[in-house]
């Protein structure tokens, strides 16, 4: 279990290319994460094309570094300008920004940085221990289970996305349809090509994700004219007193555990993990009134949780092929792009590659600490870039990136189409993530449904005869029906309370 990990780590440290990719990924991830308006998902999506020509190992080390560092980067803008750079940093600003206002921005950044490091390492450690166990258990998976795991993953992502689960699933269904464009893998029959030759080879993951998460976000930012991070305060001294860091050990550990486990639940994600970690610290604190006014625990616990989520979210993605959030969905897209299908077979057939993921993440977490201790002042300078200049740069990068995948102008048009789709989705308050996920998982779902039906000779009960498949199907149904049931229950209660309240009112009126 540890050999491939140590081997990968040794490779990163001894091969200049890998070392440069990882360090470059960390720097890019920190900066992009710190920029308001660029989420971790967007950072991954716009850098996905850059990783395309690399070998699978190089691409993974690079993207994991971007992912991991962008999670910390998000807290930089949360602390300095009170705008979370990434959704997971939302809670960090509650106490980070007041500290920065009090002239202790450097200390706040250090609390976040050390908490991130500890959270990231604990998340990774739990990933290394738990993933092989789950992958082992999942070795009994056959086509019906894989098909249901896909349905389960799609439902969970729709459930965790803002808005109605039902609508999220419909957006996922649109993604599934996009995944069917082109030649059918089993029969070579072209589908949904509308007579265009370039659609027969299918819709590539890259133009879709770049459009949905890159261009659409650029359009939204330009439309809302959100202020950039121009009013960055002075940082002051960076290293806080050693004793104050030691005092934060427990909040960091608690946050890390909460983050890993909530991150590993496909329906949850970092935004929930950080809120739980913050609430937990507040409840345990003897002086809860300090929270919201610059309490170091209020930075340390959620930041540890936020970064521990990275390891946690990789557990279902690597072992079952079910991404826990949008970021891991894009990472999974990157793996599939390189011909690697995450799931139990990855562990059995490609333990070396699993080691690369572990090693890449370990190095990235350590490098984020080192780079930021040394370079944080320079990174903060980059944040002063005006918003609109940055957004136009990202738009130009989106075009070049989607072109570079297959050297085709048509991919640029596909990217623009999904940019528009993503923008419209935002206006309609529909989540975009399930669409990308549908495209990524569509072919896997179809292949497994059809294979299961071939084996069962067309008998659909194959999906409910097998216990694991049945459980995943039932859980999906629960996630789908729970919000409806809860809303019905609330309405029922409100109706009762409403009648109860009107009567006394009438009495006073009369």
């Amino acid at each position: 279990m540890l050999d491939p990990f140590l081997q990968a780590l040794a490779d990163i440290l001894t091969q200049p290319t890998l070392l440069a990719l990882s360090l470059g990924g960390v720097m890019l991830g920190t900066i992009l994460g710190a920029l308001p308006g660029v989420s971790s998902t967007m950072a991954l999506a716009i850098l996905l094309p850059v990783s395309y020509p690399m070998s699978p190992e190089h691409a993974m080390v690079f993207l994991i570094a971007v992912f991991s560092a962008s999670v910390f980067g998000g807290s930089i803008s949360a602390i300095l300008v009170n705008i979370p750079g990434t959704p997971g940093a939302i809670v960090t600003q509650f106490d980070g920004y007041p500290l920065a206002r009090a002239g202790k921005a450097g200390h706040a950044l250090s609390y976040a940085l050390f908490a991130s490091t500890i959270g990231g390492m604990i998340g990774l450690a739990i990933l290394v221990v738990v993933a092989p166990i789950i992958a082992d258990a999942a070795m009994s998976f056959r086509s019906p289970e894989f098909a249901m795991a896909t349905v389960f993953g799609l439902t969970m992502l729709a459930y965790s996305s803002p808005g109605s689960t039902f609508r999220g699933i419909l957006v996922g269904a649109l993604g599934l349809l996009c995944g069917m464009v082109g030649f059918d893998a089993l029969t070579d029959v072209p589908r949904f090509d509308f007579g265009f030759a370039f659609l027969q080879s299918g819709i590539d993951i890259v133009p879709l994700t770049v459009g949905l998460f890159g261009l659409a976000e650029v359009m939204r930012n330009l439309g809302s004219r959100q202020a950039g991070a121009e009013g960055v305060p002075a940082i002051g001294s960076i290293l806080p007193p050693w004793r104050s860091l030691v005092r934060l050990t427990r909040p960091m550990l608690r946050g890390s555990l909460i983050g890993t486990f909530i991150g590993a639940i496909p329906a949850a994600g970092s935004a929930i993990a950080v809120a739980v970690a913050y609430a937990q610290e507040m409840r345990l604190s003897k002086t809860p009134e300090r929270f919201g006014r610059g309490a170091p625990e209020g930075i340390a616990a959620p930041e540890a949780a936020n970064n521990a989520c990275v390891g946690g979210a990789l557990v279902p993605m690597m072992t079952l092929g079910v991404p826990g959030d949008t970021m891991t969905a894009v990472l999974m897209g990157a793996l599939l792009l390189h011909g690697l299908r995450p799931g139990p077979l990855l562990f059995a057939e490609n333990p070396g590659f699993v080691g690369v993921i572990y090693g890449g993440l370990f190095f990235a977490v350590a490098a984020t600490l080192a780079c930021n201790l040394v370079l944080i002042r320079a990174i903060v300078q980059v944040m002063r870039t005006p918003m609109h200049i940055l957004m136009i740069g990202i738009a130009a990068l989106s075009v070049a990136g989607s072109f570079a995948i297959r050297n085709s102008i048509n991919d640029v048009y596909i990217m623009l189409f999904f940019g528009l789709v993503g923008y419209v989705l935002g206006l309609l308050r529909l989540p975009a993530a399930p669409m990308a996920f549908g495209l990524i998982l569509g072919p896997i779902l179809e292949e497994n449904v059809r294979r299961a039906l071939i084996v069962s000779r067309g008998d659909w009960t194959v999906f409910i005869d097998r216990p694991i498949a049945l459980v995943m199907l039932l859980l999906s149904l629960v996630a789908l029906l729970y919000p409806v049931a809860a809303m019905g229950w609330r309405r029922l209660r409100a109706a009762r309370n409403g009648t109860g309240r009107t009567e006394p009112l009438r009495q006073t009126d009369g």
Partner: protein
């Protein structure tokens, strides 16, 4: 869970194109329901059109053991159509009910979000991006990109707000330097490192 109250965030970046959490927490207006329903229906109609004109796709539906390439498209299109109709129906019902009762009609999304003007810049960007590849093929990648980036940065800088020649000169210098930086980084990344055959 009895968690202590957590102050609301100032502004949350949307992750993965999703609407900001605060906005998503508001109940959907009937008019938006109708638009959402129509959005899904448009996708379904496009899909059905393609399936209906595809003769090959049905050739082996349940002909052999493999259920064939039409199975999943039919299932998913059916689901999207049903879902679209359900959302449309609920929107219609709520709209009619809202009209019946005073003051409960849903405000139009355009009005609540400050008019159509806020879509001008995003859609303008999309429009210029749509012609950018054609220009790229005509005058080359570097020139087209420099033109596109510089034009947009200048357009977004907001000339009217800048007073006097000094500020404008500075804005122009910033725009020129950032254009050079962006074009340089893209050229270095895609042409020199990845060898993408950009025109």
């Amino acid at each position: 869970m009895a968690s202590p109250s957590i102050p609301g965030p100032q502004s949350a970046p949307s992750d993965g194109g999703a609407a900001p959490a605060a906005a998503a927490a508001q109940p959907s207006t009937p008019l938006r329901d109708l638009l959402v329903g129509l959005f899904f229906l448009a996708w379904a109609a496009t899909g059905w059109l393609s399936v209906a004109t595809n003769e090959q796709i049905f050739s082996d539906l349940y002909a052999g053991l493999d259920p064939g390439p039409a199975l999943m498209p039919l299932l998913v299109l059916g689901a999207v159509t049903l879902g679209a109709v359900a959302i449309l129906a609920s929107g219609l019902v709520r709209l009619l009910r809202g009209k019946a009762g005073p003051g409960t009609g849903g405000g139009s999304p355009a009005a609540e979000e400050g008019g159509l003007r806020r879509h001008l810049v995003p859609l303008g960007l999309l429009a210029t991006l749509a012609v950018y590849p054609t220009i790229m093929e005509a005058i080359g990648y570097l020139a087209a990109t420099a033109f596109f980036v510089l034009g947009w940065i200048l357009a977004l800088t907001g000339w009217r707000g800048l007073a006097g020649r000094g500020e404008r000169g500075l804005a122009l210098a910033v725009a020129l330097v950032s254009t050079a930086l962006i074009v340089g980084i893209l050229y270095l990344g895609f042409v020199v490192v990845i060898h993408a055959p950009l025109p």
